[in-house]
């Protein structure tokens, strides 16, 4: 939870999300990819856990990816999964909805296109991001994995 991981060339980045959102940012040509496990939309000035909040996780993820490509300009793409409403007694715009909205807004401001999105619903998701291809595999309990 609230973690950020990056990789290059091969391997997988994996996480579980319920109301949290897995934000994958990648460049297939350079075989670079990273994922943040965002729990909440806004840090409100808190800096202790950058991966926890959308507005600190995305800049930190881009910083770590930038370090992997030595600051050379890279055209990034994004994929999202998560933002579920885990308990029926959560009402109104849930934390999951707010997370997705905040991430979409931030990626829009950064001109990073979202190429796939698997968000909402009432089930948790197991996410695996293939570093080399940027393919995201999303599993929900009792269903076949989906690949984006």
């Amino acid at each position: 939870m609230a973690e950020i991981g990056v990789g290059r060339d091969d391997g997988q980045l994996r996480t579980f999300v319920g109301s949290c959102v897995g934000v994958a940012i990648y460049n297939r040509r350079r075989k670079l990819a990273g994922m943040a496990h965002v729990m909440l939309p806004e840090s409100k000035g808190r800096k202790t856990q950058p991966g926890k909040f959308a507005d600190t996780a995305i800049p930190e993820l881009l910083r770590q990816l930038g370090a992997l490509c030595r600051g050379e300009p890279v055209r990034w793409s994004a994929k999202l999964a998560g933002g579920a409403k885990m308990f029926a007694f959560q009402s109104g715009m849930t934390i999951g909805d707010q997370n997705v909205a905040a991430i979409e807004q931030l990626l829009g401001q950064l001109d990073i296109p979202i190429l796939a999105k698997c968000c909402g619903g009432e089930q948790g998701r197991r996410i695996a991001l293939d570093v080399a291809t940027g393919t995201m595999t999303v599993e929900t309990m009792g269903a076949e994995p989906q690949r984006f």
Binding site: V17, F87, A88, F89, G124
Partner: protein, 196 residues
């Protein structure tokens, strides 16, 4: 009383857990035992792992609490233990239930109700937690059943506290019932507004 000060009040939570254990024993007509694993403030990542599982299915019956404290009380189990509880309640041989139909879910929810009410009544009636027991009860909502990846369930359980703090307070009690293959666990997670 601020919740954070309750981290040193293990005996209060033990008394509540013992009451819950007695209620569970009567409900199932079997001996039960408890282990208090945690009454503490933990980094959120550690709190998410208190049940020791992430990608396995976790069954949870969650109750929202209002009154003296607000927050969540959640009864969790793995499939085998939860289904065994259902078999005990339904008077079947353990191992008969193999999936969570409406009947098994209803048995789990009712068990959560029994354990939860006993736990909360004991806390609300304890002068250590509530000097004005009559004025401020602890009221649970009807339990809500979910079955999902353990990590995803724990995220939902911890989210309210995580939204305002990097650490979370929780209590974690395990219940073992005679003939049950594993255990079930009761988690009490007050809302951060009550952390004091």
């Amino acid at each position: 009383m601020p919740i954070r000060s309750l981290t040193s009040q293990t005996d209060l939570f033990r008394r509540a857990a013992e009451e819950a254990s007695v209620a569970l024993s009567k409900w199932l007509s079997r001996p039960t035992s408890i282990t208090i694993n945690q009454v503490s403030v933990l980094p959120i990542t550690d709190a998410a792992g208190v049940l020791g599982v992430t990608d396995s299915p976790l069954v949870a019956c969650a109750m929202q609490i209002t009154g003296l404290f607000s927050g969540l009380l959640v009864l969790t189990s793995d499939d085998a233990s939860g289904l065994a509880l259902a078999d005990m309640l339904l008077g079947r041989e353990i191992g008969t239930s193999t999936e969570w139909t409406e009947v098994e879910q209803s048995a789990a929810v009712e068990t959560a109700n029994i354990i939860g009410c006993a736990y909360l009544n004991a806390m609300a009636g304890d002068p250590q937690a509530n000097p004005n027991a009559v004025a401020e009860p602890l009221l649970p909502s009807p339990p809500w059943f979910i079955r999902d990846y353990a990590a995803a369930v724990m995220q939902g359980i911890l989210m309210a506290q995580a939204s305002v703090a990097d650490d979370v307070f929780l209590t974690h009690t395990d219940f073992c019932v005679d003939d049950m293959p594993g255990k079930c666990s009761l988690l009490f997670i007050p809302e951060a507004d009550d952390l004091g």
